[in-house]
Symmetry: C2
Subunit: 128 residues, 2 copies
């Protein structure tokens, strides 16, 4: 048995509030993180809320990166959902932690789509 996806649910606490309230910067950093992980970026969508806060999602060939920021609390909810064994999601996470000036972090790792079939039959989506 093997899972189709690997999902990191990450809480980033005590981040730099100015950075995580800057839409262009958050979008750039998350796209860089996706590249660093080895993911293939398909589309990036970011939105700035009033008076503050950013929501952003990057659809990748291997699933998605998403972030929601609360600058007023220095907090970001980050999700890194990947498929296949070629993505280094912790490399992306370490980069993000540094770029956002994060002081405290918690990570829950979840296996998504556990199928009862031989490993060799499981594949992710290699072709964009």
């Amino acid at each position: 048995m093997k899972s189709l996806g690997n999902h990191l649910l990450v809480e980033l606490y005590s981040c730099d509030s100015d950075i995580i309230n800057d839409k262009d910067r958050v979008e750039k950093i998350l796209n860089q993180a996706a590249e660093i992980s080895g993911a293939t970026i398909i589309k990036s969508v970011f939105h700035k809320f009033s008076p503050h806060g950013i929501s952003g999602v990057i659809v990748i060939a291997e699933s998605h990166f998403s972030i929601h920021t609360w600058p007023e609390f220095g907090y970001c909810a980050l999700d890194i959902f990947t498929c296949g064994d070629k993505i280094d999601n912790y490399k992306a996470l370490n980069f993000l932690k540094k770029e956002f000036g994060t002081k405290n972090i918690s990570v829950v790792e979840s296996k998504r789509g556990i199928l009862d079939m031989p490993v060799e039959k499981i594949r992710h989506k290699p072709d964009v």
Copy 2:
């Protein structure tokens, strides 16, 4: 103490393979689900993979809906991440389950962004 977000990690097994391989249909159904939940839709991004499989994300004012489908296995990984207390995420989930012809389902509910401060100080992003 209260959390900022509520995140449902949903595995949908034994879905109708034709439906979950139809990009327009999956996009329409997920947007309907977001509306049914009471969410405010900001942007919807969907992508069809070759030879099969759909990835889609809807950014909502209250966080996001995302889906990744593997029609070859009848499986979808669904995430419903919402903030505030006005969204009925299980109403959306029941609708999706029915529309995708899902036979088996598993749900993990995760509280995101638990902050150590009085509840009245916690707010989500009410203004788009």
